[in-house]
Amino acid sequence: MRKLLASFVATVLLAAAVALSAGAGEKKYKIAVVPKDSTNAWFVHMEKGVRKYANDTGHNAFQKGPAKTDAAQQVQVIQDLISQDIDALCVVPVDPAALEPVLAEAMEKKIVVICHEGSPVENCDYDLEAFNNADYGAFIMDNLAKAMGEKGVYTTMVAHVTNASHNEWADGAVARAKAAYPNLTLLAAEPRVESEDNSERSYEKAKELFKKYPELKGIVGTSSKDAPGVARAIEELGLKDKVFVSGTGMPNESRRFVKDGTLSYITLWDSSLAGAAMCALAVDVLNGVKIVDGLDLGVEGYHKLMFAPGSDKVLLGSGWIVIDAKTIDDYDF
């Protein structure tokens, strides 16, 4: 009897070992993507990319985020995910500092952590950016400068002054203006305004700015709520064609303003591609692929990743696009 039992155990063990080694080459991973706000159209669009990636590759990649942009809620979501036995965690942090402890916890549990729009995060394997934040800021500035005729006073708007990417873009825009457009000057009294990621607030703040500073001719928007909100203010105040706004924006929300010219250009990267690229990077890390300059994730705009200068963590793609009145109808999200 004992013999029989022993051979049974041995068989089971053997079978398990075989199954494991056989699966190693094409192991399917469980990857969670955590956006800032699962209801935001931008991240709804990101989820499409994650789903598509899951369908194409067979990995169990899914998106789950807080119902509103709230750092504490995001921590909660991540905590729940950690206990669900995931292999990789891809996060778009609301507030990098607030996330560090929970991300450290994830890494301790051998979960691969990939961030997006979170370059200051320390507790991650890699931070994947659609592009170099400074370059993207410069790109926004190029568009704004074009609209402003390369002269005048401008300022920058961010969701919160604690938001990492928004501020790096804004810094990039300011640096670009300094370097390339000698006739553009930054509004010294209010170089950076908070819009709280709320288009009603960006609308109200823009009105205040234009009242207080009549010389103000342009605003760099970073949050996707900034540009449409500012455009609404421009339209109402009767400042169309006198002041200009350019910045990140979602085509659907901005469509009307872009078409009638109140909003000069919106720039963005495709969040669905970013979502897919995060998953792809996570799988490469899990599979032990060596992460070096020139890495190809097989996702559009992420074919030739480069490490950010001086960093071995932050990887940059080149995935930005600009949309104007002519091209806006090509996008439906």
Binding site: T39, V161, E208, E236
Partner: protein, 347 residues
């Protein structure tokens, strides 16, 4: 201490000083003057119109919140009610082309039903209003984001037209700026008048104050507690639903998360304006002063020139000081010697 002469007058004056309205009014005036001094832009037509516009939505919320506070409850669910109504009206009436009255009506009815749920739980089971409304907030948001999968959505044409409709444009010849007075402000005025009438001229209104003062005594006096509480929460829910539709219209776009956090602003405004967290007290005038102060503050920090990094500190400090003054006034009222029931005992 009182000087010679008529004793009645100084007493009346002192009584007014025990209220919070004079302090809030003074604070508001100071703030306005500060903005004017720093920017020269405060007392311009278009700035006033801008403020009126920003005030509209939170002010209507405050009316509902105040009613609930007076009755001794608190409602934190109105942003969720408003968001759900806004979304349902935008999403499921998106082909509707008729008058905006229907959108507003549907929004109000949805809000009324949701408020009715709050009211039923509070009035029937005597659950604490704070917990009930926190709970229903989760339920309503759950329906909104879970069941309906809400996200940003364009508003239907009648709402869009309401958002663009203006009573007049205030044009500032110096700066060349003009601002539109939204038609929705009429709705605010109408609701203020109706609520004033309700609170001061109807027995139901007096009942709201009575149950906030002492629910047991109110019941003994013959007020129907259940009916009055149901009424309050239905009313406040209907206001929230209506306001959701107005907000969507004014933003020309339905943002289901846009109102999150508004409950704290509105409760703070009510308390600033003299409404008591423990019930029984509050006037429309005071609460409107409170929300005006909050709105002016939120929309004047750039005009005053408070650096971005200090804006939240500044706002927090004003709320702390303001509610602190209110609380201190209330405390002083209670400490007044005559007001304390002395346990003097018996022979």
């Amino acid at each position: 201490m009182p000087g010679p002469g008529n004793l009645e007058e100084p007493m009346r004056f002192k009584r007014h000083l025990r209220r919070s309205e004079p302090y809030i009014f003074a604070a508001l005036l100071l703030l306005c003057l500060a903005v004017e001094l720093r920017s020269g832009q405060f007392f311009t037509g278009n700035n006033i119109v801008d403020l009126a516009r920003s005030l509209t939505v939170p002010a209507i919320f405050c009316i509902g919140e105040m009613l609930v506070l007076i009755s001794g409850g608190v409602d934190v669910s109105f942003p969720a009610i408003a968001s759900l109504s806004m979304y349902v009206v935008s999403r499921y009436l998106d082909d509707y082309q008729g008058t905006v009255a229907l959108n507003l009506f549907v929004g109000a009815v949805l809000g009324l039903v949701m408020g009715g749920l709050n009211g039923f739980l509070v009035a029937r089971f005597r659950f604490p209003a704070m917990l009930v409304t926190l709970g229903t907030t989760s339920v309503f948001s759950g329906i909104l984001f879970g069941a309906l999968g809400a996200r940003e959505y364009p508003v239907p044409p009648p709402m869009y037209d309401l958002g663009k409709a203006k009573l007049f444009s205030a044009h500032n010849p110096v700066s060349g700026l003009s601002s539109d007075m939204p038609v929705s402000i009429l709705l605010l005025a109408l609701l203020l008048a109706a609520t004033w009438f309700l609170l001061n001229r109807t027995l139901t209104g007096r009942g709201i104050y009575a149950i906030g003062g002492d629910p047991v005594a109110a019941e003994r006096a013959g007020f129907n507690l259940f009916r009055i509480q149901m009424f309050i929460y239905c009313f406040s829910g209907a206001l929230a639903g209506l306001t959701g539709v107005i907000r969507g219209s004014m933003m020309l776009n339905c943002h289901p998360t846009n109102l999150n956090g508004m409950e704290m602003t509105c409760i703070a405004a009510c308390v600033l304006g003299g409404a008591s967290i423990t019930g029984g007290k509050g006037t429309l005038f005071g609460v409107m002063l409170g929300i005006t102060l909050m709105t002016v503050m939120a929309n004047s920090l750039i005009l005053i020139g408070v650096p971005t990094y200090w804006q939240r500190v500044f706002t927090g400090a004003i709320i702390l000081v303001g509610t602190g003054v209110s609380a201190y006034q209330a405390l002083r009222g209670r400490r007044k010697p005559g007001a304390v029931a002395r346990r003097a005992g018996h022979a």
